[in-house]
Symmetry: C2
Subunit: 319 residues, 2 copies
C-alpha cells in the first residue's frame, strides 16, 4: 500500500516516524508544511520541515519538540551579547542546517532538492517533500493586525487572539515536484495529527492539492484529545474562532467526502469516544484508539493501527 502523509510539526513528525518504522520506505512519502518558513539573520529557516526530518533521522530534541538533541548554544549567546534577538531558539548544530540550506538556495538549488540531499546524509529513507519550493508564508490575522507566523508562534508565544489566517500568495505558487504525483500515486493519504489551521490548511491551499486528494481515500488523525492539543495552539485557535475544540470540530473542519469535504475516515482518542456517533454521522468511518504518542512504541503502534484502518477504509470505498 502506497501512503502519502501530510504533516506539520511535532505531532506530524511523531506519526511520520511511526509510519517510517512500520512501512516500507519506498511506499511512504511525507509532504510537509512550509508555511511556517521564514528568514532570520538572513538564513532560510524551515521549522516544520526540520522537525520532521530530524525526527525521522532520530536526531530530534525530545524535550523541546524542535531542534537537535545534544545541542550547544554558543552562536545565539554571542548574538545576544551584542544586543541581538534570542526569541527564536537556534542551536549551533541546527544552525549548520540553516547555513547550508541558505547557501544552496542562493546557489539556485530548490528546497525540495536540498531536502532530498539532506535526507540522504541523515539516512532518512522515506521521501520527504516540502509542500512547495516557493515561499508561501502563513499570516496570522489577529484582532489588531497581521503577524508573520513565527512572530505569532514563537516571539509572541501564540498569545494574540486569532481571527483567521492567510496563506499569502499560495494561489500563485506551485506544489513542489513530487507532491501531486505522490498523492496521485498513493493508495491512501494520511493527514497527520498536526494543527489543521496552520500546518495542514497551508498544504491544502496549494493549487491542485485538494483536487488530487479528491480521488483518494483520506484519513485524518485528530490532534485534539479531550478538548486540548497535545502541543501547540490548535485548541486555542478553534476556541478563538468560536468553535469548541474537539475531534468533532477537527472532522468538521476537514469535512467528509460524503459532505463535499476531504475525509473518508477519522481517527480519534479513546477519551473522546462519546463523540464517535456524531462524527460517523458526518459520513466518516471512525477509529477510536489511544492516539497519544508518548514514545517510539506508541508511534509505531498508532501508525500500524492507522494503516490497518486505512486498509478498511479503502475496502469500504471500493465496495
Amino acid at each position: 500500500m502506497k501512503i502519502a502523509a501530510l504533516a506539520g510539526g511535532v505531532g506530524g513528525a511523531k506519526l511520520a516516524q511511526g509510519l517510517a518504522r512500520c512501512h516500507p520506505a519506498e511506499k511512504l512519502t511525507i509532504i510537509v508544511n512550509t508555511g511556517d518558513d521564514f528568514e532570520h539573520f538572513g538564513l532560510k529557516i524551515c521549522p516544520d520541515l526540520d522537525t520532521v526530518c530530524y525526527t525521522l533521522a532520530g536526531m530530534e530534541n525530545p524535550s523541546t519538540g524542535w531542534g537537535l538533541r545534544d545541542e550547544t548554544w554558543n552562536a545565539l549567546q554571542a548574538v545576544t551579547s551584542i544586543g541581538g534577538p534570542d526569541w527564536f531558539g537556534i542551536g549551533d548544530k541546527d544552525l549548520g542546517t540553516h547555513l547550508e540550506r541558505t547557501r544552496r538556495l542562493r546557489a539556485g538549488e530548490t528546497l525540495s532538492g536540498i531536502t532530498r540531499e539532506f535526507c540522504n546524509f541523515w539516512s532518512v529513507e522515506p521521501l520527504v517533500i516540502p509542500m512547495s519550493d516557493d515561499a508561501v508564508p502563513t499570516v496570522v490575522i489577529t484582532e489588531s493586525n497581521e503577524l508573520d507566523f513565527q512572530d505569532y508562534f514563537v516571539r509572541q508565544k501564540c498569545e494574540p487572539q486569532v481571527k483567521g489566517f492567510k496563506f499569502s500568495g499560495s494561489h500563485r505558487s506551485k506544489p513542489a515536484p513530487g507532491v501531486l504525483e505522490n498523492i496521485d500515486g498513493a493508495d491512501i493519504v494520511i493527514v497527520c495529527p498536526s494543527n489543521p489551521w496552520v500546518s495542514i490548511d497551508p498544504i491544502l491551499a496549494l493549487p491542485g492539492v485538494r483536487s488530487a486528494l479528491g480521488g483518494k481515500p483520506v484519513i485524518a488523525i485528530s490532534p485534539i484529545i479531550g478538548g486540548k492539543a497535545v502541543k501547540g495552539p490548535a485548541a486555542k485557535m478553534f476556541s478563538e474562532l468560536g468553535i469548541k475544540a474537539s475531534p468533532l470540530a477537527v472532522a468538521e473542519h476537514y469535512g467528509s467526502r460524503q459532505g463535499g469535504g476531504l475525509l473518508s475516515g477519522f481517527v480519534m482518542d479513546d477519551v473522546d469516544a462519546a463523540l464517535k456517533a456524531k462524527i460517523e454521522n458526518l459520513g466518516l468511518l471512525v477509529l477510536v484508539t489511544d492516539t497519544l504518542m508518548r514514545g517510539s512504541e506508541d508511534r509505531i503502534r498508532l501508525a500500524r493501527q492507522v494503516i490497518a484502518f486505512g486498509e478498511t477504509t479503502i475496502r469500504r470505498e471500493v465496495s
Copy 2:
C-alpha cells in the same frame, strides 16, 4: 595628538591594539579594510574588521590570527555533515557576529553604525570605522582568471600566482561616514604593517582618501621583515609582481610625499637596517627598530615608538 590608523588584518590589528593601550581612545581612530568582505552561507562576513575588533577587545584567537578564542565548531561540523563547504573556518561564537551583523544590515543599518554598536558591547574604546558602508570587493587577478579575494586567500591558500588586483567599483563607492573627517582631523596618519596590496590599497582607492591624506604627515610601518611577511602573502605578492620583497619595495609602493607619493616617514625592522639609506634617499624620515610584535608588550612598545617618531615627523614637516 590625534591619530588615524589604516589597518587590515592581523598585523594591523596588533599595532592597533598597541596604539589603543598607549594612547587616549578619544584621540585614536582605526579605519579598517573591508575589501576582503564577502557573503558566505548568506551571511555578511568582514574578516579584517572582525580581526581588528576582536583583537582590540582582547577576544582574538592568538593561534589562528582570525576568529575568537575558546571557540566551538559545532555549526561548521553540521554543515560538513550534510556536504557543505568547510574551507572558510567559522566558529560558533564568531557566527554570532555574522548573524547579528547580517540581520542588522537587512534591517537597513549601515556597516559603520553596526560596527560602532558592536564595539560598544565589546568595550572597544577607540573609534573603529570600516572603510566603506558600500561593498567594494577586492578581486585578485591571476594568470588564468579573476578570483574573489577569500577564494584566493582562504580556499586556494594564496597559491595562484597574482598578476594584479582590482578594487571593483571603488570609484562608485563612498568612504564610510567618519573616514575622511577623522583623517582630516588627525595630526598624523599611521599606515599599519598590513598587506599594501590587499589591505591598505583598497582603502587608498576610495574616492577622497588619497587627497585627504595629502595634507597630513603619514608614516607607514613595513609589513616586510627580512624579505618575508610576518603573516600572509605580502612577500609572495611582491615577488610574483616582479618586485623583490623588502621594506624598500614597501616604501616605493606607497611613495614619498617628496616624490609625489603618500609617506612622510617610514618604520622598518632592525634586520633591514642596511636599506635605511636607500629609503631615506626616497625623501623619507626613517625609524629602524624591532618591529616584530610577538606579544602584547611588543605591540605597546612599537606603538609608543611609532607615536614618538610621528611627533618627530610632524615637527620636521612644520619646520
